[in-house]
Every structure is written in structure tokens, then in C-alpha cells.
């Protein structure tokens, strides 16, 4: 019963979503909105499951002085700092307004930390590109050449080097061709495969053939 009910609900919601795509008439058009609202409500309530789980595990670690417990202490302090600042010292519903303590914490702590993580990407791109672009095989050499021309064609010096060539045959044009023809073709092939894969997986889940998600075999 514990597995059948979720499977039944999945099947009903799945079929209703498919039907409403083709039938705009009432009541099918209302179901989509209704189910989406239900999902949002459940997801909003479920956030507490996550928060309580995080607090429980972190508190246990701090209490038992487990491995790397100071990190857990930082998590707990961070959670209470922003929650208390937002709930009690930021003017109720206007907690997101500029100048509130919540906004101060958000702008001066959270945003720089997020930006720092994002900025790491630049260094990781460099190290990953170095590995990917090593010409160890025919395919890797092709990738190296394509990457080289695309990068060079995206900056003014690319056109400057090839300025002696007629208009339309310069590096920026080659870059555009690489991006618009082979790159787009490859990406579309992947997208077609993805669409078919989504359809197949959806059918398996809706028809109850794929039961792993509900804890089945």
C-alpha cells in the first residue's frame, strides 16, 4: 500500500498533465495549475524537513565533538543569524528592503561568498581546459583546434591577424561557422536524444514499470 498509492498518484498526475497539453477545455486546464500549486505548497512545507535535518545533524556533530565539528557550528550560527535578523529585526514583511539587518547580512556576507564560489569557476575552467585540450588523440586534437579558433575568433586580434583575407573569410566568420553549424548540429542531436529519453522515462514512471523512485525494485 505504501508503494501503490504514490504510484497511483504519479500515474494520475502524469496522465492529467499529458491530457491537458492537448485539451485546453475545462476541467483539464485547471488541473495543471492546481497540481503546480500543490507542488509549490508541498515543497514550501518540505523545506522544514531539510532545515531540521541540517540542524539535527550539525547539532549532533557539535555535541559529540565529531569530525570537523567547527564547520557544523558555523552552519548553525549562520542559520540562526540570518533567521533572527530576518524574523525579528527587519520590519516583518519588509525584511528584504534595503537597509534592514537581513539585507545587510545578505549583501555583505551571502553575496560575496556566492560570488567567491562562482569566481572559482574561472580557475577550474583553466585547469579543465588544459587537460581537455591536450592533443592525445585525433578527437582531442580536433577539439583543441576548434577551441583555439573559436577563442581567437571571439577577440579583435583574431580578425586583425586575418585582415588580409576577404570579408566573410576571416577568423570571426570561421568561429561563427563552427558555432552555428557543427556545434549546433551536435547539440541538436543531443537535444533530440534527451527529449526521447525524457519521454521514455516518463512513460516508465507513469506506467509503474520503473518503481525505483518509490522504493520498489
Amino acid at each position: 500500500m505504501r508503494r501503490q498509492i504514490p504510484q497511483l498518484l504519479t500515474a494520475i498526475v502524469g496522465f492529467v498533465y499529458i491530457i491537458q497539453f492537448f485539451i485546453p477545455h475545462k476541467p483539464f486546464n485547471l488541473f495543471e495549475r492546481m497540481f503546480s500549486d500543490w507542488f509549490l505548497i508541498i515543497a514550501a512545507c518540505a523545506i522544514w524537513l531539510g532545515v531540521l535535518n541540517l540542524l539535527k545533524l550539525s547539532s549532533e556533530k557539535v555535541y559529540k565533538r565529531g569530525k570537523d565539528w567547527p564547520y557544523s557550528l558555523v552552519s548553525i550560527c549562520g542559520f540562526f543569524l540570518i533567521t533572527i535578523a530576518g524574523l525579528f529585526f527587519s520590519g516583518g514583511r519588509h525584511f528584504q528592503d534595503p537597509g534592514t539587518p537581513f539585507d545587510y547580512v545578505y549583501v555583505n556576507i551571502f553575496t560575496p561568498l556566492s560570488a567567491t564560489m562562482f569566481a572559482l569557476l574561472a580557475f577550474f575552467v583553466a585547469s579543465a581546459s588544459y587537460r581537455a585540450f591536450r592533443a592525445r588523440s585525433k578527437e582531442a586534437t580536433l577539439l583543441l583546434l576548434a577551441g583555439f579558433f573559436v577563442m581567437l575568433g571571439r577577440v579583435p586580434v583574431g580578425d586583425l591577424i586575418t585582415s588580409w583575407l576577404p570579408e566573410g573569410y576571416r577568423l570571426s566568420n570561421l568561429t561563427d561557422w563552427i558555432m552555428n553549424v557543427p556545434q549546433t548540429a551536435g547539440q541538436r542531436a543531443i537535444m533530440i536524444g534527451i527529449a526521447l529519453g525524457i519521454m521514455s522515462t516518463s512513460l516508465r514512471v507513469i506506467l509503474g514499470i520503473e518503481r525505483t523512485i518509490t522504493g520498489g525494485e
Binding site: 570537523d68 543531443i190 519521454m199 514499470i209 525505483t212
Partner: protein, 397 residues
């Protein structure tokens, strides 16, 4: 003396300027006054009809724009849509349309009530009304005619999938090509067991309403079963509460199916944060501190993909990634040992289970690919010969 001379020079200069430019100024003022004084030419050919393929309450209104509706006429303000119940209702404004528009929608119509419309062209304070349109009424449609092609496509592929599932059930052997990334799952789990280190599974950063997350969780179920059989340790840090619940249920089921319910640890599947880079920082920290032997990235990933995969690469873990985000695939290919590209992510669960019913669905998918390939070839021929717009057949509205 000198100051007086300079003043006189200034006066003369001003007078000359006024004499030179006065005809132009006068002409401009007259023209401007003329434009302001004239009402705009009225809109013509106003038609109204029920908006097709909708759930009712909407009427489409089309017209031929005023001949004064030109980009250079700065006074032309746009159009007001006036609506009246047919035949004797009073016209009232129901919507606005900007200059240049020739179509708008009345989304506040009552189904079954006949309405007639006038379009008011407005220029400055003046306006002119069009003739009233023939009456129209809105109604709901039972079928979206712009999606017939999608329905046919879904039926062909859906029936093919069901056909091959049934065929597989009857015991027919199906050939499925080898997927290197999935063949390596056993090796990756075995390596972690031998090293006595953890296996990390990252199910992406989207919620359970995303099909990639669902596919990721189904793969988690298969991986968790192997982990339970090998008696290895699994950790699943997640980004969404609902994903955490779904993952727990899946892993619990997998341990139960493997005959090791005692080995299941609920706390191994834990929530970190909903924030993208907060999650990336949390997982990176875990990777660096715990040094897992194997890391799976299966689901929807965005900018954090390379941050996670490079950190995993740095600690020397075997990494198997899978996503249907085309923009993130190159990053995973560069940083991971194996990458499931697009459709392979959705095929992984069936592939790992080796269950005929699930493998049958993969064959049905292949039929879809054959149909699309044929359509592409036919399209190339038709477009090359310039017969008709073949691509239009595949446009879904």
C-alpha cells in the same frame, strides 16, 4: 566705450540670427500646430474572432493600422480597444495597444456573450474611432489543433515503447549497446569498498519536478543496491528537501531489496542548502575532507558542475557524471572519468537493472530516433528541392 561697442555687436548678431532662422522656426511651429490640430486617420478592417485553441474567455481582435501610425509621428500615442455587448451595448475601453500593433487579445470576455469592438487611434488629445467589428464570442476548445503533430509523434513513440516492453516481456532478447560509464559502476563501487572510502552521489540541484532529478534518483536506487551488496558506504548530500525524502525512500528500498536493511543509514542522505553556490561550497568541503573514492553526479547541473567535478578530480576520485544540460556536458567530459551524455542518463536505470521490461523501453526510444532521422533526411530533400516548408510540420504551437 569698448564695452558699449561689444554690446552693440551682440545685439546685431542676435538680430541676424533671428532673421536667418525665423522662417524655419515659424514653419516648424505651423507644421506642429497642423499635426496637433488633425485627428489621426481611423483604423480599418477591424475583425474579432474567438482565440483558437484556448480555454475560453479570450477574443482576438485584428485591424489594419491607421495611416498616421508612423515611427516618425511622435504624437501618435497608440490604440484603445473599445468593447460593447452586441447589438446595443455601450462601448467601453477594455484594453490598450501600442503604436504599430495590429492585433490584441481581450482576455476578459465572457464565454457565449457576443461582443463587438471599435479601435480608437489616439494622437495627442485627438482621436478617431473605427467602424464596429462584426460580433464575436469566446468559447472553450476541446482539442488544441496546433498540437496534432505532437500527438501523432507521442503516439508513435509511446506505442513503440509499449510494443517493445511487451516484446521484452515475452522473452525476446534485445541488443543494447554498451555504455562505458555504466559498465564502470561496478568497478567504481568495488574500488571504494577496497579503499574503505565513501561513495558520493550528487543528484543535481533541481527539485523532483525535473525529469533529470527523477532519472538521477532511479540511478541512485541501482547504485545503492550495489553499495549494499558490496557493504560500502554511501553519502548523498542534497540541495532540495523533497529530493532528500525521495532519495531516502529509494535508498531504503534498495538496501531492503539487497537484503541489507540493517546497513541503511538515514543520515547518510542529508540536506545542505537550496542555494546553488552554497551547495557547491558544502559539497566541495565534504569532498576535500572525506576524500571519497567514487563520486556520481547524476541529474540537472548548472554553473556548479565544473566546481564540483574539478574538486573531485583534484582528490583523485573516480567520477561518473550524467546530465541532460548540454551546456554542462563539456565540463563533465573534461573533468570526469565517464560521462553519460543526454539520453544515456535516462537509459542508465534500465541499463543497470538489466530488466527486460525496462530495456524494452530503450528499444522503443530507438524507434523514435529512426523516425526523426528519416524526417531529417526527407526534410533535407524537400528543402533542397524547394517544394514546401517541411519544417513547419514539426512546429508545435
Amino acid at each position: 566705450m569698448a564695452t558699449g561697442k561689444l554690446r552693440n555687436q551682440k545685439i546685431y548678431f542676435t538680430l541676424i540670427c533671428l532673421l536667418l532662422f525665423s522662417p524655419t522656426l515659424i514653419a516648424q511651429q505651423t507644421e506642429s500646430a497642423d499635426i496637433t490640430a488633425t485627428p489621426p486617420a481611423p483604423v480599418t478592417e477591424v475583425v474579432a474572432f474567438d482565440t483558437p485553441n484556448d480555454a475560453g474567455s479570450s477574443i482576438t481582435i485584428c485591424w489594419k493600422k491607421s495611416s498616421d501610425d508612423r515611427p516618425d509621428d511622435r504624437l501618435f500615442a497608440g490604440y484603445k480597444i473599445l468593447r460593447a455587448v452586441y447589438p446595443r451595448g455601450e462601448f467601453q475601453q477594455t484594453a490598450d495597444a501600442p503604436a504599430g500593433a495590429e492585433e490584441t487579445f481581450d482576455n476578459e470576455a465572457k464565454d457565449g456573450v457576443e461582443y463587438t469592438y471599435r479601435i480608437r487611434a489616439v494622437r495627442g488629445d485627438l482621436y478617431s474611432d473605427s467602424d464596429a467589428s462584426p460580433p464575436a464570442q469566446s468559447k472553450q476548445q476541446w482539442f488544441h489543433t496546433g498540437r496534432v503533430n505532437a500527438l501523432i509523434g507521442c503516439l508513435i513513440i509511446g506505442l513503440a515503447i509499449i510494443f517493445f516492453i511487451n516484446r521484452a516481456k515475452s522473452g525476446k532478447e534485445l541488443y543494447i549497446r554498451k555504455i562505458a560509464g555504466l559498465e564502470a559502476v561496478d568497478e567504481a563501487v568495488g574500488r571504494a569498498t577496497e579503499m574503505g572510502r565513501k561513495i558520493f552521489f550528487i543528484p543535481g540541484i533541481n527539485d523532483v519536478d525535473n525529469m533529470q532529478t527523477i532519472a538521477g534518483i532511479t540511478i541512485l536506487g541501482r547504485v545503492a543496491k550495489r553499495v549494499a551488496e558490496y557493504d560500502a558506504k554511501l553519502e548523498v548530500p542534497v540541495c532540495r528537501s523533497l529530493v532528500m525524502v525521495a532519495c531516502r525512500e529509494t535508498v531504503k528500498g534498495a538496501y531492503l531489496n539487497a537484503g541489507r536493511p540493517d546497513a541503511y543509514d538515514e543520515d547518510a542522505i542529508h540536506y545542505l542548502t537550496d542555494e546553488q553556490f552554497g551547495y557547491a561550497a558544502g559539497v566541495d568541503g565534504l569532498i576535500v575532507r572525506e576524500k571519497p573514492a567514487t563520486i556520481f553526479y547524476q541529474g540537472a547541473f548548472f554553473a556548479e558542475s565544473l566546481i564540483l567535478a574539478e574538486t573531485g578530480n583534484y582528490i583523485g576520485a573516480i567520477q561518473i557524471a550524467g546530465t541532460a544540460m548540454p551546456a554542462q556536458l563539456p565540463f563533465f567530459v573534461a573533468a570526469c572519468d565517464y560521462t553519460l551524455i543526454g539520453e544515456e542518463l535516462f537509459a542508465a536505470s534500465a541499463y543497470l537493472s538489466k530488466e527486460p521490461k525496462l530495456l524494452g523501453s530503450l528499444k522503443g526510444q530507438d524507434v523514435g530516433k529512426v523516425v526523426i532521422l528519416l524526417a531529417i533526411l526527407i526534410g533535407i530533400v524537400i528543402h533542397t528541392l524547394g517544394l514546401f516548408n517541411f519544417a513547419q510540420i514539426f512546429t508545435v504551437r
